[in-house]
Symmetry: C2
Subunit: 376 residues, 2 copies
């Protein structure tokens, strides 16, 4: 039986939109979209993994609401988050004469969402964009904030746009079809909100992690609503990432370096963020910013989720090199988001290379070969 739908409004003036959160609600997408987009044709962008699982109810609901639906099914994986794949979307839209009012609907995880959003931002200089994120990571992160983009061989998400969706629908049922490894990786971002902003959320995770991982629907909807609300509050304060929004990058400076060094295909984003957050906590402890017992609680919760806590083994210089390519670099200095305690983080860009080296070395896996993190 479908549960009640929770609604959250992301308030960005003329670019405001709603996030709908619930269970078994995919069959409502058609009616919901009718009220917020004008176009009559919808391009549903998905991938070869997600489409067989969730395209049918979405397409049926859209068609019943009177939309003409064209699916665009892309290959699955971060490795395809590039211009060539994006080009497939443009070719399809242009060959099928999609017009300015016709929306793109992203049905999938963060990669599908980021690429579809960027395609929507650029096609005819901007067409409407609707998101149905199907991974926990995409639901708590990519569904709020309007960051879209693709990777460049030298770094992640270096090419993209800030572009807001017209509507986001989160159906927690999609999580049941997610491989365990991906579901756990998503919890890295949930924990992130606890560390950076919300001590209560962190404690809820500490206390009820078992039930949450077992899939308690009510708790999951509550968590998703809370994470999205935190991100919405921060994004509303700082739509174009000039201040507060930087805090959301907790764990990402190290995390992006891991993903870049491992070629984007061995570590999941959430896994990289998990090891990145533990490393950031180490760094914060090392400079006397964060009490060791607080850092230990962060480490413990991340470990309980089965997430990695150490960096894969690469030469320290490779890490430093990868981190200077990050978008968060300013004035040539790497910017770090560091926890002061659970629920409060700050930005620091005055850290010495020596200190970074020591932190990287201290929190690195001993093995010479980077391994695949395999849970599934």
């Amino acid at each position: 039986m479908p549960s009640a739908i929770q609604t959250l409004t992301v308030d960005l003036g003329p670019r405001s939109y709603e996030i709908l959160i619930g269970a078994s609600i995919l069959d409502q997408i058609g009616q919901r979209m009718k009220s917020c987009v004008r176009g009559q044709r919808v391009a549903v962008v998905s991938n070869t993994t997600v489409a067989p699982l969730h395209l049918h109810p979405v397409q049926t609901s859209l068609e019943e609401a009177g939309f003409f639906v064209t699916p665009i099914i892309l290959p699955d994986g971060e490795i395809h988050k590039n211009w060539n794949t994006l080009q497939q979307i443009f070719d399809h839209l242009i060959a099928n004469r999609f017009e300015r009012a016709d929306p793109l609907l992203a049905l999938g995880g963060g990669v599908i969402g980021d690429m579809t959003g960027f395609a929507a931002a650029c096609h005819l200089r901007g067409v409407p964009f609707v998101q149905i994120p199907t991974t926990l990571l995409a639901q708590v992160d990519a569904s709020v904030g309007g960051k879209t983009g693709i990777n460049h061989p030298l770094g992640k998400n270096l090419i993209g746009a800030f572009y807001q969706p017209s509507l986001v629908m989160i159906d927690i049922d999609t999580l049941t079809t997610l491989p365990l490894r991906e579901r756990l990786a998503g919890f890295a971002e949930v924990i992130k909100y606890g560390i950076l902003w919300d001590r209560e959320l962190f404690m809820l995770l500490e206390e009820r992690l078992g039930e949450i991982l077992a899939g308690n629907a009510e708790l999951l909807i509550q968590l998703l609503h809370r994470c999205c609300a935190i991100k919405a509050a921060i994004v509303t304060m700082d739509e174009r990432e000039e201040g507060k929004r930087a805090l959301l990058n907790l764990g990402h400076t190290f995390g992006h370096a891991i993903e870049s060094l491992t070629g984007y295909d061995r570590w999941l984003h959430g896994e990289a963020v998990a090891a990145g957050m533990v490393t950031a906590a180490h760094l914060a402890t090392r400079i006397g910013l964060c009490p060791p017992e607080e850092a230990a609680r962060m480490h413990a919760l991340i470990q309980r989720c089965g997430l990695p806590t150490q960096l894969p083994n690469f030469p320290v210089d490779h890490y430093l090199e990868a981190m200077t390519h990050d978008k968060k670099v300013s004035g040539g200095r790497i910017r770090f988001i560091l926890p002061e305690r659970i629920g409060h983080t700050i930005v620091r860009s005055d850290l010495s290379t020596q200190l970074l080296r020591a932190t990287l070395e201290a929190n690195m896996e001993p093995s010479a070969q980077p391994t695949t993190k395999g849970y599934s």
Copy 2:
């Protein structure tokens, strides 16, 4: 001796910027940029034709003002306005670690401006963008409005973004190095502003065309200021092209079809717009909207500038096909901007295919082979 600089503010709230118009002012770019951008490094994007003529004073001025300058020199021509060329800009910026505050400066015509603007819109999800348009067309058209983008094999400017510059500098001295054919093509857009908005401007052109074409600096600066002010007024009313701004596309529905059918390399944009405006006037006369004597004056002024007034010879079906790929298509219907009289235009999207066929046939060159329009 440098003349006084005319300044025009394009009022778009937080995205407002200034257009500086004058003669021999390139050596002021460094100081002017210091006051509106924070970054210390500037990527000057130009092409193999413009760079040898104008890069030196621009680079010197920037370096004297304390900027670190990297030129990115692209191949010249509309045929290169594609992803591959754009990729060269991204590769360069990323390899050289350009940061979010570091601006891109477009030094060239419309192609360079559109590509550089789009690169600035997408690099790290948006970096500052400064324009020095060096063709008449780019000065009166591309320098106001924030339209950026690249072509797709199936149509012009289909992929892009609305992205505003931080500063525009127009130096009419750059026009003296422009081939005659390109200078004349630019007048198509000047005439366009007269037809669509400003009867007085049209009459000034009719009366003093000789002096203007001979390069009278005072008259040129006056014309440029007037065209930019008209465009700024329209764009301010309608930044994202949802209403009034459509009027700026006078001549462009036919014009884009010409460019698409001739593969973007035989007709200059302004030439295509010129023939497109005459065809639009024919169409307006045919439905009783525009008095024949007004249409005749438009035709005559365009002809006096040495611009084409007839469409190149292609099957009518090819024109219809090309026009339905245009961004201006709405609800499957082609949208036309039609003059009611000199100084006033309207939008119509209710015209029959039969009427279009008749208009296309009546205003087409007799020759079976499309020719290159050659003035230079």
